[in-house]
């Protein structure tokens, strides 16, 4: 099974408070800690587990600038066989369709049976996997929380639906799946793993290498673009309890008793 996993370098929301910069043109990126998109990490783990069961290779690909190399390398330290970085000034300002166009060009240079993406990133769009599948004319399943390989033509896929239920499907290969968190337990990447891949060369490909026209992606090809960032005007919200911890707790216990929060 030749598996491609698409990963993205994003600000780590568990480590950062996200704020808007003064001009409102972007989030404040000074001092942000970046990491691999959480959903993508589950996708890479799933790919490694599939390869270990049925054989084949796992290739990790990212569209981004030079710094995206660090997340590709991290996922290789996890156990992916190959890395690939798609990097070109012409890619800057791509919308979801632009990203899918770039990835499609890379897919067509390879010979993949299965493509995994994370179900979404922190912008919450969840779009690239479904677009890529439609461009390739491959079947697609989103929010996947179970994958079983049947043979080299078919797989069984579970999708998360409402209320904790799971929808089971049989799918033809090749196909594209977007992976939901919780499907597995992504392995810990230790310092030994990082060292092992520290000097591996990761190929970098630009628009020309992929046979893409200059306006196939990037800002020129984008039908959707961000105008600004802002902090939403909020409603009244909660009554915030203030004072010393002792005072706050005293007040809170009183409130909980009055509202039936202490039986």
């Amino acid at each position: 099974m030749e598996i491609l996993v698409c990963v993205k370098r994003v600000p780590d929301t568990a480590e950062n408070e996200i704020a808007v910069n003064k001009a409102g043109t972007d989030i404040d990126r000074d001092d942000l800690v970046y990491s691999v998109n959480e959903w993508d990490n589950y996708a890479v783990e799933e790919a490694i587990q599939i390869r270990d069961k049925v054989g084949g290779t796992v290739t990790v690909v990212s569209v981004g600038d030079d710094e995206a190399e660090e997340v590709v390398r991290r996922e290789m330290a996890m156990g992916a066989d190959n890395g690939l970085l798609l990097c070109d000034d012409a890619f800057t300002g791509s919308d979801g369709k632009g990203l899918a166009t770039i990835l499609k060009a890379a897919v067509e240079k390879g010979n993949f049976d299965l493509i995994l993406t994370g179900a979404q990133a922190d912008d919450g769009a969840g779009q690239v996997g479904g677009m890529l599948a439609a461009m390739l004319d491959w079947p697609y399943a989103s929010l996947v929380n179970l994958v079983e390989i049947i043979d080299d033509k078919k797989i069984k896929v579970g999708r998360e639906i409402a209320g904790g239920n799971q929808e089971m499907n049989e799918m033809d290969l090749p196909c594209v799946l977007s992976i939901q968190t919780g499907i597995n337990e992504p392995r810990y990447v230790g310092i030994r793993g990082i060292r092992k891949v520290a000097s591996v060369e990761i190929p970098v490909k630009g628009a020309a290498d992929l046979g893409l026209a200059a306006d196939a992606a990037g800002k020129a090809g984008a039908k959707v673009d961000r105008l600004d960032y802002f902090v939403p005007e909020l409603g009244e919200g909660a009554e915030m309890l203030e004072g010393s911890t002792e005072e706050i707790i005293e007040k809170l216990v009183e409130i909980l008793k009055a509202k039936g929060g202490i039986k």
Binding site: M168, F230, V231, A238
Partner: protein, 324 residues
């Protein structure tokens, strides 16, 4: 410029989803002059019932009746929709598990723009739609511009457009099954596996002590169990806790977990994503404790405390025990 807008209608057991009401509000907000058509796919009697209900909301309903749609499968209906939706139209789809499966690929097949998970529309100017989205779990919002010249597929966040008291539309049902044609499904539905019922039923509890990512480590869950015991409630949680396998799925509150209706809800170290809030019904009295003063949970809560739960919860538990 009046757009042609289509709304994709979800239904189950012959009953249309709440999103049918929300999408027509969204469509009117997007363009008050637009002609709005509901599209309903399915099979047989249940489809007929759903179409009747959609016709009470929409002036026109397009029906796609096909045995392959008895269980709705995005891979089957996507090519059918691509055949009947005209170029340049706008298609609205609810941003939930089915919409996320259908919509991105549909935009490619229609050669239209894709605008995901919208929470607000601010009008069309010069063929470009101005819309509002949220990023980073609602910590920041953005205005986005979407080029409508080639049409658009737009997913709409559930609950973002509140249904209004509607007049009966008396809509007409048009059978589009023939035009929609058939599809060779390369993804075949097998079955639905129901959620595991754990040894606790959090949907029955009047007091929920709910914990999120702020707990940091599995060992720290002890603090939450102790507080739950002190107040006489059950422990519930947000998604990351279940993903990490620290608590069982049956305790997860949210759109992909349980829908709960307690009297009092304590949200501890929970940021308050819309998926989590979507699992809480009946407006319980909500107390939120979070170290991030900008956490969206403080907008939904009645009472808020900015604190690290690891320090705050043990002291609270102690005080509650004393006060008994």
């Amino acid at each position: 410029m009046a757009q042609q807008i289509f709304a994709y209608i979800l239904h189950k057991d012959g009953v249309v989803d709440d999103s049918a009401q929300e999408l027509i509000v969204a469509a009117r907000k997007l363009d008050p002059e637009a002609a709005v058509t509901a599209v309903v796919g399915g099979a047989g009697e249940q489809l007929a019932q759903a179409c009747q209900q959609a016709a009470a909301i929409y002036p026109e309903v397009w029906k796609i009746d096909n045995p392959a749609l008895a269980y709705i499968n995005a891979e089957v209906i996507r090519p059918m929709l691509a055949r009947i939706i005209p170029a340049g139209a706008i298609t609205l789809v609810p941003h939930e598990h089915f919409g996320m499966d259908l919509a991105p690929g549909l935009s490619i097949k229609l050669n239209a723009a894709y605008l995901p998970d919208v929470v607000g529309f601010e009008g069309v100017e010069g063929g470009r739609l101005r819309a509002v989205r949220e990023e980073f779990s609602g910590q920041v919002s953005t205005h986005v511009n979407c080029d409508l010249s080639g049409g658009a597929v737009i997913t709409v966040r559930p609950g973002a457009f509140q249904p209004q008291e509607g007049q009966a539309a008396g809509g007409q049902v048009v059978d589009k099954s023939g035009e929609a044609g058939a599809a060779e499904p390369r993804r075949r539905y097998l079955e639905t596996v129901a959620a595991e019922v754990g040894d606790v039923d959090i949907t029955k509890s009047e007091i929920l002590v709910s914990v999120g990512r702020g707990i940091e480590d599995q060992d720290n869950l002890e603090l939450i169990h102790e507080l739950a015991e002190a107040v006489g409630g059950e422990v519930s949680c947000s998604r990351p806790i279940v993903d990490a396998k620290w608590l069982e799925k049956a305790r997860q509150v949210g759109t992909s977990g349980q829908t709960v209706k307690p009297k009092v809800y304590l949200a501890l170290g929970i940021s308050g994503s819309f998926q989590h809030m979507g699992g809480i019904k009946g407006a319980p009295f909500m107390v939120a404790v979070n170290k991030n003063p900008k956490a969206p949970i403080f907008q939904a809560a009645d009472v808020g405390v900015v604190a690290d739960i690891l320090e705050f919860v043990p002291e609270l538990t102690e005080k509650i025990k004393e006060s008994r």
